[in-house]
């Protein structure tokens, strides 16, 4: 499948100029098509087929996320999303004042293009791990569930093998690794999940840092990591089909991490039966 880029071309701030530069470079280097946000806003029909038939990369300048909102309004589902303002923060750089691209902004655009291409390679499933050192760890599907019933809702919670934080994110641990996903309770609260944005492979997180974002038709959810460690894999199946989290929340893991301090992390998590008590309370408070 070919790719198209929908980028902020905004003149509101420097990040818009960077987003525009990223789009041009990606188009030049990969042959991707460009969707002009201004035209898309004015004449959505022009891009209807292009958006339906290609892998969509959305590059937003700032958190207003105009490009992402235009994509959503057009009914398009992005395969990848990038936010320049976050990349600026991650890089520790301060962009030059004004809208023209200085050396720092150009360097940042280069980095973002490389990250997009690396994430694409990872999502293709060929080299989704951290390389040859990334050994496979077996994780078993849960067998027994506790079911919390509230009104017409039923929330399933694995009795063993899963640990939860208070932000409704689980960790399944084995072989020095943890897989991370969200609970049945949270997927039902979010309703139809439309996008999963995992962090880059190699990202190091502390317990309770974000390990990505989930977007649904109703809300945006920050995945608060239950563990500390380094992201070694993102689940390509979930990237391709975000709705699999709704269908199988305890099988549809989002990222896998190499654990850094599991014993310490564990002390601040609860097991399945304790989480069931929390879910009962949360459901009553909703």
């Amino acid at each position: 499948m070919s790719r198209v880029i929908l980028a902020c071309t905004g003149l509101d701030k420097a990040e818009g100029s960077v987003a525009r530069e990223v789009a041009i470079r990606l188009a030049e280097e990969t042959g991707a098509g460009i969707v002009c946000p201004v035209v898309l806003n004015r004449t959505p029909a022009r891009y209807k087929r292009v958006l339906a038939e290609n892998r969509l990369i959305v590059v937003d300048g700032c958190a207003t996320q105009c490009a992402g909102k235009l994509a959503a309004a057009a009914g398009a589902r992005p395969a990848q999303k990038v936010l320049v303002s976050e990349a600026v923060k991650r890089s520790g750089r301060i962009l030059e004042p004004g809208l023209r691209l200085g050396p720092d902004a150009l360097e940042l655009a280069r980095t973002i293009v490389d990250e997009i291409r690396a994430a694409e390679t990872a999502a293709s499933g060929e080299t989704q791990g951290a390389g040859p050192t990334s050994a496979e760890v077996e994780f078993e599907s849960p067998l027994d569930f506790t079911v919390v019933v509230h009104d017409k809702y039923e929330f399933r919670i694995p009795v063993t093998g899963y640990f939860f934080n208070a932000n409704d994110v689980w960790a399944q641990v084995g072989g020095g690794r943890a897989r991370v996903g969200i609970s049945d309770y949270m997927q039902q609260r979010l309703t139809d999940i439309t996008f999963v944005g995992p962090p880059a492979i190699g990202t190091t997180v502390q317990q309770f840092d974000d390990v990505g974002t989930i977007e649904s038709t109703k809300a945006t959810f920050e995945i608060v990591s239950p563990v500390s460690g380094t992201v070694v894999r993102a689940n390509p199946a979930v990237a391709d089909a975000p709705e699999s989290i709704n269908e199988d929340p305890y099988g549809a893991w989002i990222v896998e991490l190499e654990l850094a301090a599991w014993d310490e992390d564990r002390a601040l998590l609860v097991d399945g039966p304790a989480y069931a008590v929390d879910v009962q309370r949360k459901a009553a408070e909703d």
Partner: protein
């Protein structure tokens, strides 16, 4: 709901909530539209938005800041909050040593 807890700690003891930088905020209300927990409230007058219900804010969630174009929302440092929660939990454990919950 004064007895709401987070990780076993009374929620009001955890100072996790957004701070609005009024030098940057343009009162676009994206954050208020986004947040389902009614952390923000709109006001008439020059300051059109306030953090009215900080204890409604989900501890460790910073999703509203990701909707903020002018980058006007900030949160406490997570490691400091984690350290505070750990300390408060150990104090709770000491004062409720018969509480069976882990």
């Amino acid at each position: 709901m004064s007895d709401i807890t987070f990780m076993g700690v009374p929620r009001p003891k955890i100072p996790w909530a957004p701070t609005i930088d009024y030098e940057k905020c343009d009162f676009c209300m994206e954050c208020d539209d986004f947040c389902p927990h009614r952390v923000f409230e709109r006001r008439d007058g020059e300051v059109g938005l306030v953090v009215a219900n900080p204890d409604n804010c989900v501890v460790f969630c910073r999703a509203c800041a990701k909707t903020c174009g002018p980058d006007a929302l900030s949160f406490p440092e997570k490691p400091e909050i984690v350290a505070l929660i750990k300390r408060l939990r150990s104090e709770e454990d000491e004062s409720h040593s018969e509480d069976g919950r882990e």
